[in-house]
């Protein structure tokens, strides 16, 4: 356990600089975006009401009230989130491949540590997972900040104060990242973690069998996906309307756990028996 924690800290340290960049870009972009968008909105309001002599009601009818949804639909908000998602997706691969292809082949060292090799696998997975949770937490804090900032920037009459759930639901896919229930959280992050383990194991298949491994890894990912959606396939194709929704969720959780356990077991086996430096 202690070695796992040491490895986790070590892996977190290795990603730290890039992570700080992602955090700074997200904060700056979203806050600057909010200031710019709200200023533009208020300038337009001034033009319509003061210069064009339109009433406030007709302005609000045409342009609507300003809310955080104006921000969440803009590139200022979506851009850094997309950047973080893409960076972390790339990092899923980079976290392994850099140890083989870096200037100094660090994988020798990692595989020769007097600890279970599975700890290396789990520490790398937990690094990605921690980073994701960190960025999502940052986003929640940022939304609170933005909710307060918008009150300073836009007068009450022009403003629609959305509750945090409203803000989250104003952005199409945000509810996946920030679910509104514990079950939702388990489903989103459980599925994410499972996908991460499957990808890690596919990478290890490639690292063990090289070119042949690309093909086998592809097959493995496909097979894992099919096992994961097997309850859905079963209920759609063979037994329509046979299961209650709660039963379906339980079956899905079970299928997900099988895929996750299979990925970890296979990763453990490959690291001990098949891996090549």
């Amino acid at each position: 356990m202690i070695n796992f924690l040491k490895l986790l800290r070590f892996e977190l340290d290795r990603f730290f600089k890039l992570y700080v960049v992602l955090i700074v870009v997200t904060i700056v972009s979203q806050l600057a975006g909010l200031v710019i968008i709200s200023k533009l909105y208020m300038r337009r309001a001034r033009e319509e009401i003061v210069v064009n002599q339109n009433s406030m009601e007709s302005f609000l009818e045409t342009y609507g009230q300003f809310s955080l949804a104006n921000l969440t639909h803009s590139l200022w908000f979506v851009g850094p989130i997309a950047l973080c998602i893409v960076s972390l997706l790339i990092y899923v691969f980079f976290i392994w491949y850099r140890d083989w292809f870096g200037k100094n082949t660090f994988i020798y060292r990692l595989l020769m540590l007097p600890t279970e090799r599975l700890n290396v696998y789990l520490a790398k997975a937990m690094t990605i997972f921690t980073m994701v949770l960190g960025l999502v937490s940052l986003q929640i804090v940022l939304i609170y900040l933005e909710m307060n900032l918008v009150r300073l920037l836009v007068p009450r009459d022009f403003r629609l104060d959305l509750p945090i759930q409203g803000v989250i639901h104003s952005f199409d896919y945000f509810y996946i990242l920030i679910p509104n229930s514990f079950i939702g959280f388990l489903i989103s992050y459980g599925t994410g973690l499972m996908a991460l383990f499957v990808l890690f194991t596919a990478i290890l298949i490639e690292r063990s069998y090289r070119l042949k491994g690309v093909f086998i890894g592809g097959l493995y990912v496909t097979a894992s996906f099919l096992v994961f959606i097997s309850p859905l396939l079963l209920s759609e194709i063979f037994l329509p309307r046979f299961f209650y929704p709660t039963e379906m969720i339980l079956l899905e959780v079970f299928a997900g756990l099988i895929v996750m356990a299979g990925a970890i077991w296979l990763g453990h086996y490959l690291l001990n028996k098949k891996i090549r430096v």
Binding site: N3, K6, F10, R14, G102, K103, N104, T105, F106, I107, Y108, R109, L111, M112, L113, P114, T115, E116, R117, S208, N272, K273, K274, I275, R276, V277
Partner: protein
């Protein structure tokens, strides 16, 4: 004792090792000699479980390699296996964090011996100094066996001399060492046992001293004979 028994290894269709067997004892320096591509590094990797073998068996003091074995045996590859952005001090700290067998006192002693500064970044070191740090990170572990892959390859003459001095010092004494080389002349005087590899098999294995005394041949003489056959 490290026992390598009848190991075979294929890369695709190419059979690199065709039943290699040899032993390496504690307190002896065993040298694997062969031209480039003969499979010396593959044997080292196989001993450390860094590459799978198709058949055969490798035992370290009678046991198959497991996580605890890495406190007992260490491999020093031909390139340093620490992150280039680390300083020497950070690399030493990393070793200290993970290995119970890390001997800080010996590490400092080696640092002095090689005249290196702890604060230097690994990526800024010359090739010779990088090789020395690589060696230091292995030698400063209180392990029974050390595997070294071409420790003299591509480094300047003064660094070679310094590294060669290590072999005759207390830093290596009593340990079992397996060293590979394709340039035997550099280390002939240091080794106890030679294992000559050719075409994926061990063609000859002998004690150098015994060979000199009984047959009056140096390692190079024996190598010449083997290659002329």
């Amino acid at each position: 004792m490290i026992e390598v028994r009848e190991i075979t290894k294929r890369f695709g269709r190419k059979e690199v090792l065709k039943g290699v067997s040899f032993t390496a004892e504690k307190g002896e320096i065993t040298c694997l000699i062969g031209v480039n591509g003969v499979g010396k590094t593959t044997i080292m990797n196989a001993i450390m479980n860094l590459t799978p073998i198709q058949s055969g068996e490798i035992l370290i003091d009678g046991q198959k390699i497991n996580k605890r074995s890495y406190e007992k045996i260490m491999f020093i590859p031909d390139a340093i296996t620490m992150l280039p952005q680390m300083t020497i001090q950070q690399a030493m700290q990393f070793m200290d964090d993970f290995y119970e067998s890390w001997n800080e006192k010996r590490a400092k002693e080696l640092l002095d011996f090689f005249k290196l500064e702890e604060g230097n970044k690994i990526s800024n070191l010359s090739k010779g100094n990088t090789a020395k740090i690589n060696l230091l990170l292995g030698l400063a572990l209180d392990v029974d066996y050390l595997l070294m892959d071409e420790p003299f390859s591509g480094i300047d003459i003064f660094s070679r001399e310094q590294i060669a001095d290590v072999f005759t010092s207390h830093l290596v004494e009593d340990r079992g060492v397996i060293i590979t080389t394709h340039e035997i002349s550099d280390i002939e005087h240091l080794i106890d046992k030679a294992v000559i590899l050719n075409d994926g098999t061990v063609v000859k294995s002998f004690y150098t001293e015994e060979m000199r005394e009984k047959e009056g041949k140096s390692v190079i003489d024996v190598l010449r004979e083997v290659h002329l056959q």
